[in-house]
Amino acid sequence: EAIPNLKPSPLSTDEPPTSFKDVSRYNNFYEFGTEKYDPSTNAQTLRTRPWTVAVDGECESPGEIGIEDILTGFTQEERIYRLRCVEAWAMVVPWVGFPLGDLLQRFKPTSKARYVAFETLHDPEQMPGQRRAVLDWPYREGLRMDEAMHPLTILATGLYGELLPNQNGAPLRLVVPWKYGFKSIKSIVRIRFTEQEPPATWNRMQPNEYGFYANVNPEVDHPRWSQKRHRVIGEGLFAGKRETLPFNGYADQVASLYSGMDLRRFF
């Protein structure tokens, strides 16, 4: 289903997007299986209507918002972003979405709101991968408030001009292009403002391998593989790898968020 009146964005990259076929078939979405092609095979069991997102925690007007209100209440833009997975592969994805900050403002976060926590739907009926305890369900992620309010951070509702395919995190997912893909939590049902750093699924499971910040950083290797280079999906068998850039090439826009922080420690 096409999303009408899409606005282009100056924040988009002009790099050629990865094919729709690869973007919609090569997915990490363990709620539908741990193999790359599992989500595109299994995700049709997810029901994305009706869908509501509960927003609460440190804010003045907690409440719920439905997906239809989200689609009509916020100006949907096309945002073509690089996506760098922690597994050292990358894509370029033409997302459709809007700044996360626009939605957060509506619920009037208080001065105590220092972090934002997100949760994926937990329903093993709809998400068969949740029948096995591969991860500690539901999937959780979090951002610092300044990261959440950054103009590059969006909630995505679609890709390639159409509503999100289920396997890409329908109907609503986070996209934080300067962080490893696992931060960009899918199929969100809950957003919570918190004072303390909220738990994040991969970080809790393997704290030495997956940091809370998870900023793309070629200088900090994953303990089991190098993060210096990555493979670009769709470039074929003999293309080799490319150099990974700090903050996935978005350093000019976001490096200042982390000034004074030891990025080896807060990886």
Partner: protein, 203 residues
């Protein structure tokens, strides 16, 4: 079975097993040519060749238990062929890593082998397979005599390294490497001479 029937079985069986063992590689090549290998062909090739190395190692290790359980002595005549195919897929696996994944960036490769435990054990397993493949010929079997058996028992250790290599590489879902590990444990347990009448030295 009469000796002549056994000979026929082996004569027909060997080329058949040969083709069967080549089938996974043929299928991969077919998928490359037809461009149905998926979004990340390098990853698919590396994973598939790794899977087949492990599978063929386990099949090779299953020959002796199978022979003893069924009494079909001729099965042993396929063991070398299966073992060499395990080595063949290990070569493909390593080549895919060195070439398609790393593009012979020796600095990065050496760093991987030294710093990443799962690559260290995988590489060690490959290196240990080389002397076994080299000494698999009739000439070497004769030359080494009793020591041949001792040398080729290293394959138990290699298989363990292979499973550990897989186990240490997965991110969260350990089902498959554990499955391989359980099968391997069963095949190794069979070789422990804890039953009476099994003192003859199963290999």
């Amino acid at each position: 079975m009469t000796p002549s029937r056994t000979e026929t079985l082996v004569r027909v069986g060997k080329p058949l097993v040969f083709l069967l063992c080549l089938a996974p590689m043929g299928h991969l090549l077919w998928r490359v040519v037809m461009e149905t290998i998926g979004a990340n062909p390098v990853e698919t090739l590396i994973h598939a060749t790794g899977d087949w190395t492990l599978r063929l190692l386990l099949i090779t290790l299953a020959v002796t238990p199978l022979r003893r359980l069924t009494g079909q002595v001729w099965l042993i005549r396929f063991r070398r062929q299966l073992g060499l195919f395990a080595f063949f897929y290990a070569c493909l696996h390593l080549t895919a890593y060195l070439w398609l994944d790393q593009f012979f960036d020796w600095r990065a490769i050496i760093e991987d082998i030294v710093k990443r435990p799962y690559i260290t054990v995988g590489f060690a397993a490959f290196v240990l397979l080389i002397p076994l493949a080299v000494t698999s010929t009739r000439g070497w079997t004769r030359r080494l005599g009793r020591r041949w058996k001792t040398l080729h028992r290293v394959v138990y250790f290699i298989a363990i390294l292979g499973v550990v290599h897989y186990l240490w590489l997965v991110k969260a879902d350990r089902f498959e490497p554990i499955l391989y590990g359980v099968i391997l444990a069963g095949l190794l347990a069979f070789r422990i001479p804890w039953r009476k009448g099994n003192q003859s030295g199963v290999n």
